[in-house]
Symmetry: C2
């Protein structure tokens, strides 16, 4: 099955939005892909034809097993390229998503497996997301929660769930990265902001919006 770049992008976006089994809506997919709902409907018909998704009018979209396999391949390529850019070419984590968005479409098993070897077969990408192996299997991530829901006091940052340049740039500015250890000093119920303290630094207060997108686990 030979997919176009657009088809791969759709499959990956469906994978991303399809938490568990819940069907992905036309509008959500259009928003995620920065396109229009009418375009999504058109593409849904094509992907159904290719047996990559289950789709019935007005009923939303889910990946078939074949579609999920395809999605995992694209995700693998995306995340390995992100590792390459950060580890080998010294890009910072907020710069790599867009480039990987293009590199992920070079389809060569040999290339991607050699790249993985070259990188030491990493299992997480620069944003803390797991990298599927050549068979589509991912190490199941150690349990992690959004910072705004953490109950332990001493925590370590394991991932960021929003990967917009804006959030990543903010985290850079505050010195927060994967592996950063922090302590929760206070919750402020007025706006659900959270005061945190990192070693050797004065404490800072972050918005609920930011806290929701920082994944942590107890230290």
């Amino acid at each position: 099955m030979n997919l176009t770049v657009a088809e791969e992008n759709y499959i990956k976006a469906i994978y991303k939005l399809q938490e568990g089994d819940q069907a992905v809506t036309t509008n959500a997919l259009a928003y995620e892909l920065d396109t229009k709902p009418a375009s999504v409907t058109d593409m849904a018909k094509k992907l159904k034809e290719k047996k990559l998704i289950d789709y019935e009018k007005y009923q939303g979209i889910t990946l078939t097993p074949e579609g999920r396999k395809t999605a995992l391949q694209v995700v693998r390529r995306h995340r390995l390229w992100e590792c390459f850019l950060v580890d080998k070419l010294s890009f910072s984590w907020e710069e790599v998503h867009e480039l990987a968005e293009e590199l992920e479409h070079v389809r060569s098993e040999k290339l991607i497996n050699r790249l993985s070897d070259f990188l030491g077969n990493p299992v997480i990408d620069p944003h803390g997301d797991p990298i599927p192996d050549a068979h589509g299997r991912m190490a199941k991530p150690r349990p992690q929660t959004p910072l705004d829901q953490a109950n332990a006091k001493r925590l370590v940052v394991t991932a960021v769930s929003d990967q917009s340049t804006a959030l990543l740039a903010f985290l850079n500015a505050k010195g927060i990265k994967l592996g950063t250890q922090l302590e929760i000093v206070a919750h402020y119920e007025f706006d659900n902001s959270i005061e945190i303290k990192m070693k050797h630094l004065s404490s800072l207060t972050i918005s609920e919006q930011v806290a929701k997108n920082i994944m942590v686990r107890p230290l």
Copy 2:
């Protein structure tokens, strides 16, 4: 000026075929790009519109200075990726062209300049072709001639002018690569085949067709 992948491929092909100032013909370009003359005519109109080529009906195609600049950027990306694949991922020289044909279309100055640094700013690619620098300047290649026209006896292989998998596989089989030193033992005028001898090996005879595509300079 934002170019499509197809436009970049055309510009690169025109650059390749346009030796000196001679205009590139519609048919030659169609053959090079494995497409049809009618398609070339269509694209020529678009590229003229974008001021990348000079083109008048029936008069053939030449790159404008802007077009040449674009071509050199694409060539730079292509050849740097080939270096990456060979030097870092252990691909052999006959495998890299197709992959580079796709990778070359990821347009990011920052990416390609960092890749170049990472590779040690190489000046020739795995086939002996020069790599343009960030400003489009290439080290002018040291004088080289096709093996079938060499007059010195002791020679060193500097490049291959045909990069088909078939030729490269043949050269692999015979142990001929960039830097290989060889001696011309005999010319056979019946078919213009050439007998050569490499150090520590028995001599072998290669066809004119092969000899034409091996570039050498006197040792």
